[in-house]
């Protein structure tokens, strides 16, 4: 009778365990699906607002412009149609935000009902006109012609070097500087953190006596508990001026500064996990090595580290994960200039971009989708790192 009850309870516990692991996996999958469904939409939209149109005068011989070319026009870098293969006419801009320069607000009507007429008037008057407006205010019989604009291309998105997601009317969505910035900052951070943290883990696990370990271990774990914004502030006030002074740079907010802060932040994660792995090497294995005449150091290098390899690798993955995904500290110390990164110049990372801009981006808009597309890239990067590390781990095991 009792046995029967036990069996039922066991079954119950089993199913609880099963459901909890199932929910976790489903949640993860749902998040990934959500990410992709929001982000992929970017490549089916045009780099202008959903309801916007761009029109030019009928006499104009130009009919197609890339988003980079439009950026030059609305940035007033190029002010003549000749630069785009058109006639020698100076470019006249009219958009929703400068319509006040040409027409008084009273002229537009109390609920802006006169805007369509004014657009037509402008296009007819100026042969070099280019107008950008919401479709709602599109005249019924447009006196000009509409400009064709291509969808955002995947390649254009990945290889573009300009990131002006809020530029009006045509957003510039080039994420290459952001991707390279993220990779550079976290790669250098891990290169700095690895030797230090592995050495520290070995010392704590194998060399230090229990008295020292009892002081050091809680201290290191405390480091993991400090909020990242505190690291960021510390970086901004202490590390930024030092980097600037030591390397004699014009500016201290650089990719390198971000790497230093990230390295400090990744330390406790790697140390704690790697130390646990080293300490869980079976006593018998170590004693066998010592009994065969190996010295303490030979035992550490030849026996303990290879045995604990997978645990150390797990620590490294977690450390890299923390470095790549870290937002706040990086946002504060790397300067966030979206230029092609070099180690001693300001850089902008993907998480910092998402954190700084998502609050402003209207939900479902182009900017919003672009930020989700960015997070897909971030996801793919971390996923790739995880895969490669587990590949290395398995390879070592089979040897």
């Amino acid at each position: 009778m009792k046995r029967k009850w036990f069996k039922i309870i066991e079954k119950g516990v089993e199913s609880v365990l099963f459901t909890s692991s199932l929910t976790t996996s489903i949640t993860v999958i749902l998040i990934v699906i959500f990410l992709f469904s929001e982000g992929i939409g970017l490549f089916f939209s045009k780099p202008i607002d959903k309801d916007s149109i761009i029109g030019i005068s009928k006499q104009n011989t130009v009919s197609k412009l890339s988003s980079a070319q439009l950026n030059h026009i609305f940035n007033q870098d190029l002010t003549n149609w000749k630069a785009f293969g058109g006639k020698n006419d100076s470019i006249q801009l009219l958009s929703i935000n400068n319509i006040g320069d040409y027409f008084a607000e009273e002229e537009l009507g109390s609920s802006f009902e006169n805007i369509p007429n004014k657009i037509n008037e402008f296009v007819q008057k100026h042969p070099g006109a280019i107008v950008s407006f919401s479709k709602t205010y599109m005249p019924k019989q447009f006196a000009g012609k509409l400009l064709e604009i291509n969808n955002v291309g995947v390649w254009e998105f990945l290889s573009g070097k300009l990131w002006y997601p809020t530029a009006q009317p045509v957003a510039q969505l080039g994420v290459l500087p952001l991707i390279l910035g993220t990779v550079l900052v976290s790669l250098v951070a891990i290169l700095m953190a690895l030797p230090l943290s592995i050495a520290c883990a070995i010392y704590l696990a194998e060399v230090a006596n229990s008295k020292i370990r009892n002081i050091l271990k809680p201290l290191i774990e405390l480091l993991a508990g400090i909020p990242s914004v505190v690291y960021g502030f510390f970086g901004l006030i202490v590390i930024v001026p030092e980097v600037q002074r030591i390397f004699n740079l014009p500016v201290g907010e650089t990719a390198f500064t971000g790497s230093i802060v990230l390295a400090i932040m990744a330390l406790p994660t790697i140390i704690t996990v790697a130390e646990d792995a080293l300490r869980s090497v079976p006593r018998s294995t170590k004693e066998a090595s010592l009994a065969l005449g190996a010295t303490h150091w030979q035992t550490i290098v030849r026996v303990c580290i290879p045995t604990a390899k997978s645990g150390i690798a797990a620590g490294i993955i977690l450390g890299i994960g923390r470095a790549i995904g870290e937002t706040m500290a990086v946002l504060m110390v790397t300067g966030n200039a979206s230029t092609m990164p070099s180690l001693f110049a300001p850089a902008r990372t993907i998480p910092a971009t998402i954190a700084a801009e998502l609050g402003e981006a209207p939900s479902g808009g182009l900017h919003f989708k672009a930020l989700f597309a960015l997070s897909i890239i971030l996801f793919i990067i971390t996923f790739g790192i995880n895969l490669s590390v587990s590949y290395v781990k398995n390879k070592n095991k089979s040897n």
């Binding site: 935000n97 802006f112 990131w163 930024v240 014009p250 504060m332 200039a337 402003e360 209207p362």
Partner: protein, 276 residues
């Protein structure tokens, strides 16, 4: 018994009195520039009018406008006026709103105190912030690379500076976008070739404010409360409150308090420029 009844009565009366006096419950969201001022104003207001509860949050002017459009805030505070496309969106949503200027703010262009340059024209500022001028040598200073600090794109200060100083051109790609005004002050104070812009209220002794000329170098004006008040300093901007006409009753008394002599004295105390 009579006593008890009278106490209860007086309590009820008192309660009713509080309701009749301006008991304001509202949410305010938007510009980070306005944030310290409005927080101070709402604190003093709440102290004087028990039972009022005013929640003030920042995020940027654009965030405030998005929130009032979505109906998640009662008042949008902003350091720039509503853009035309935002007006159109409000119009499409059928939301009539009131715009009130509540105070003014002057933007000061700041450099590191070791910088010899003390004044710049608007054209020079445009060149520097759009990335065409890259060395202090080009504007008469020493041979030192210029490091441009700006706010993030969600900031109203960013938009205002772009519109009124850069003539609507984009910031150069090398500009460092900082998450907060305090961070700009900190960075400019410790970077030799730095230039940035902050509200007058954020000026500190660790940075140097430049005199600015808007008439091609004829007169250079120093940013100060005085010069902003008498309108000689050019980079001055109004700070706004936007609220729906339908919620006028709910928020009106707080807005009136802001515009009162007492509210405006707090404006001055906090380093902003009061309306006359």
């Amino acid at each position: 018994m009579k006593k008890v009844v009278s106490i209860v009565m007086s309590l009820v009366m008192a309660g009713a009195g509080v309701v009749n006096a301006q008991r304001v419950v509202c949410k305010i969201k938007g510009s980070d520039t306005c944030l310290p001022l409005i927080q101070k104003e709402s604190e003093t207001y709440q102290k004087k009018n028990a039972g009022s509860s005013i929640m003030v949050t920042g995020g940027g002017s654009g965030v405030g406008f998005a929130a009032i459009l979505a109906g998640t805030t009662d008042i949008a505070m902003a350091s720039r006026s509503m853009k035309m496309d935002e007006k159109l969106k409000m119009n499409e949503a059928g939301k009539a709103y009131t715009e009130k200027v509540i105070a003014k703010d002057a933007l000061s262009v700041i450099v590191n105190p070791t910088n010899k340059i003390g004044q710049l024209t608007r054209e020079q500022l445009e060149g520097i912030f759009t990335g065409k001028i890259t060395n202090w040598k080009q504007v008469g200073g020493e041979d030192l690379a210029i490091v441009v600090y700006s706010r993030e794109t969600s900031s109203g200060t960013y938009e205002f500076f772009k519109e009124h100083v850069l003539n609507k051109k984009n910031f150069g790609p090398k500009a460092l976008l900082m998450p907060a005004t305090g961070a700009i002050v900190q960075s400019v104070s410790q970077t030799k070739g730095a230039i940035g812009y902050v509200g007058l209220a954020y000026l500190e002794k660790t940075v140097k404010a430049l005199k600015v000329s808007y008439d091609k170098g004829k007169t250079f004006v120093e940013p100060s409360v005085e010069n902003a008040k008498n309108k000689t300093y050019p980079i001055t901007r109004p700070l706004y409150f936007y609220y729906l006409k339908s919620s006028e009753k709910q928020v009106g008394s707080f807005v009136n308090y802001l515009l009162s002599a007492e509210g405006q004295s707090i404006v001055l105390k906090e380093g902003y420029i009061p309306l006359q």
